[in-house]
Subunit: 440 residues, 2 copies
């Protein structure tokens, strides 16, 4: 993409309304714009990141055998009365009355709706297990929306729901999503540690929050050092294998949010204490919805029982902010390659110069041919402005075309993470980028 034909509106200084670093950097990089309290538009750069995250989540859900559906944003109050949640849910639920005086709501979550779909179509043990997921905008009417996407009101969530015949089957579904979430966050380039979470009377050991460690995290968390130093996916099984040993092995490692933390349990452990941000939550809740809503199936013996359910959520828009909280420096964002809006930024240091223009243009075309996602900064701007913008936007690699190096038919390749630079030929830089580019 040529920047002159694109739309990126960056700010050189921190906007007054932002308190946390991800919010500041997203506004400064021109990724989002607030439209009203806690409600944002996604500008082109931000949308590219959001879409990359969506693609990775979709792929990992498909790998795990989950089936994608799409439920609407608005729901009928009657459906929520069936589960008993309509009156229980507080003022965070946005309640709406339509022109026919029907009571509606903007869905904050979809347990009732997916249960309604399942009870309509699924009646026999032969039709389960099933795991349905969707990615849709949700609304929670926070009393004090703040911290940008971290606590917005309209937000994008991936939520999935498993339906099983028995508790043992439900455990298998849970283990599968546990593994799938580890894989998803790893593919997103972010370390998210599963931590035992409160689950009320039902969940038992099947309730985990996935927490990204970041200095600026919202809560205190504690975990065994191995969570930070080892790859949790080492020796991970295939989905069609028995997943229990893997689940047991990992959950035997200590990890806890402040509420669940037990200092007595960690006396002999090499413990990491850090701040964390919740980006996912999985839990088993049995027949909490299937029982009152009558989502039952006939078992092989002819008896009918409500389905066993679990739910699996990822805060998709929140993840954009969480990744920035976990990966930035004082110059700007440092994107993991898989979610970066562009894999590389091509900087022409002397726009209008015949030689640098020719070299930069040919590099740009070659990147397009090789499907390397590149932002070509072809503006008439000073070098300092282009460098600052490239660091702010945070693509993993910068390719710098300067008059001096151009004369030698060389370009500079700069690593955004550690600022290391290498002088390479055009062929070398193309081969390098083509080799390293993420495949989504």
């Amino acid at each position: 993409m040529k920047r002159s034909e694109y739309f990126i509106s960056t700010l050189m200084s921190d906007p007054a309304e932002a308190q946390i670093v991800s919010h500041k950097l997203m506004l400064r990089a021109g990724m989002i714009q607030q439209m009203s309290a806690g409600i944002y538009s996604w500008l082109p750069l931000g949308l590219r990141v959001l879409q990359n995250i969506q693609s990775i989540i979709r792929k990992e859900q498909e790998n795990a055998g989950s089936i994608e559906v799409l439920m609407p944003t608005l729901q009928s109050a009657d459906l929520w009365r069936e589960s008993g949640r309509y009156d229980d849910y507080g003022k965070e639920m946005l309640r709406i009355t339509d022109r026919q005086n029907r009571e509606m709501l903007y869905g904050p979550t979809n347990e009732e709706m997916i249960t309604d779909i399942v009870r309509t179509h699924i009646h026999s043990y032969r039709e389960v297990p099933k795991n349905f997921w969707h990615m849709q905008w949700k609304f929670r009417d926070e009393i004090r929306p703040r911290f940008g996407l971290m606590r917005g009101r309209e937000f994008l969530m991936k939520d999935g729901y498993s339906f099983d015949l028995t508790y043992d089957d439900a455990k298998r579904s849970y283990y599968k999503m546990f593994l799938s979430y580890l894989r998803t966050f790893a593919a997103l380039g972010v370390r998210a540690i599963p931590m035992r979470a409160d689950s009320g009377p039902i969940g038992g050991e099947m309730s985990h929050e996935f927490i990204v460690l970041a200095e600026t995290g919202e809560s205190q968390v504690f975990c065994d050092k191995s969570w930070v130093e080892e790859d949790a996916l080492q020796d991970a099984p295939h989905y069609n294998e028995d997943l229990e040993p893997f689940f047991k092995k990992l959950t035997a490692r200590y990890s806890a949010t402040e509420e669940k933390h037990d200092p007595d349990m960690v006396k002999n452990l090499d413990l990491v204490s850090a701040r964390g941000i919740e980006v996912g939550h999985i839990f088993y809740f049995g027949t909490k919805y299937s029982q009152p809503m009558k989502a039952s199936v006939t078992h092989p013996d002819g008896t009918e029982h409500p389905l066993e359910m679990g739910s699996y959520g990822i805060g998709v828009s929140r993840l954009v902010a969480a990744i920035i909280e976990a990966s930035h420096d004082d110059k700007g964002i440092i994107w993991p390659a898989s979610v970066a809006p562009f894999f590389a930024i091509l900087i022409n240091l002397k726009n209008g110069d015949t030689d640098t223009d020719a070299l930069a243009n040919s590099l740009y075309l070659a990147c397009q041919e090789k499907n390397i996602s590149v932002l070509y900064d072809d503006r008439d701007e000073r070098a300092g402005v282009k460098f600052a913008d490239a660091d702010l936007i945070g693509s993993p690699w910068q390719v710098i075309v300067s008059p001096r190096n151009c004369a030698m038919q060389k370009v500079e390749l700069k690593n955004r993470t550690n600022s290391e630079t290498h002088l390479l030929s055009v062929e070398e830089v193309l081969a390098f980028l083509a080799d390293k580019k993420p495949v989504i």
Copy 2:
């Protein structure tokens, strides 16, 4: 996808609640499910079609140089007060009050919001022309939602907005989208004819509805026979050429909705009179929003003027229904290849038979390797049920594995459109499908 691991819930007879053929077939094929009046969930099969349409629209918008953003579903009433539309818009606008008693609305369209974004970031003639588009759920509180997706309340729309310095520039943006829409509908496998539409006092000749011809269409339309018999994109220019001659040539061909139809003008024409469904609308509206909302830029001479705007919409969810209305028979849907949920359906006529299972499985794996999107009907069902489902779902090709042909290592390839069948070897059928499969 193996049907046994997927979720498709078909009905053999017409559901009572549906009046028009697209609604009947979408319910029968298990593409959608109504959740409340005019509000639908997309079941897996329907979602695949919707996503194919989205991908094609995205690609064609990118080709035309439009920039993707994503605006939220909920908007502030204050923004609509600036344009004067908050009080004008009738009861079709879903008005919402949040917990802080702020007046909100569920966006039925986004002119105000995109104008707000542009006035925030764009201030100079150097930064235009720009064309922004997004694809987002919208809501119109129809008094009597009916005909399934044709007149639903929550619906998916692609809407784009052009911002230009001058009227001449705005014309160029309009011509570009006119051509882009022809290309988009052609890529979707549907013929949509542009027809002069009412535009109020501003639009002039720059207001066109794109109409799909279908016996069951909602309104009467008239057009020159050439619209139906010739390829409108024949000799179409590239986007960077002068598009006016192409626009003039095509708009010189007669086409009109009933409201605009003038029998005096068509006396000597070879006229087609048909029913039609509106699937797109493009129009120029000058400074209608930029003036009151102060979206102005500095011109080269230093003076400041409001931007010239146009808007470009496609009813994305409605298109799913419109394509079915235009392309079905008494057995079910006949999908254009580019939007079909699966390109082929693989039918194993004797599930459980060692030989047919082996052949069907190897064909299925080979299709996956070659990226041929195939639904493998591996259920224990009678042949009649599988044939009926395959015709109902409407993939362009059916590959039938029968015990008799299997003995000869042959399979039957059936064309859904004309029911022609061919007996082919496994290699032949794979080569055929790989060659014909759509590339999105």
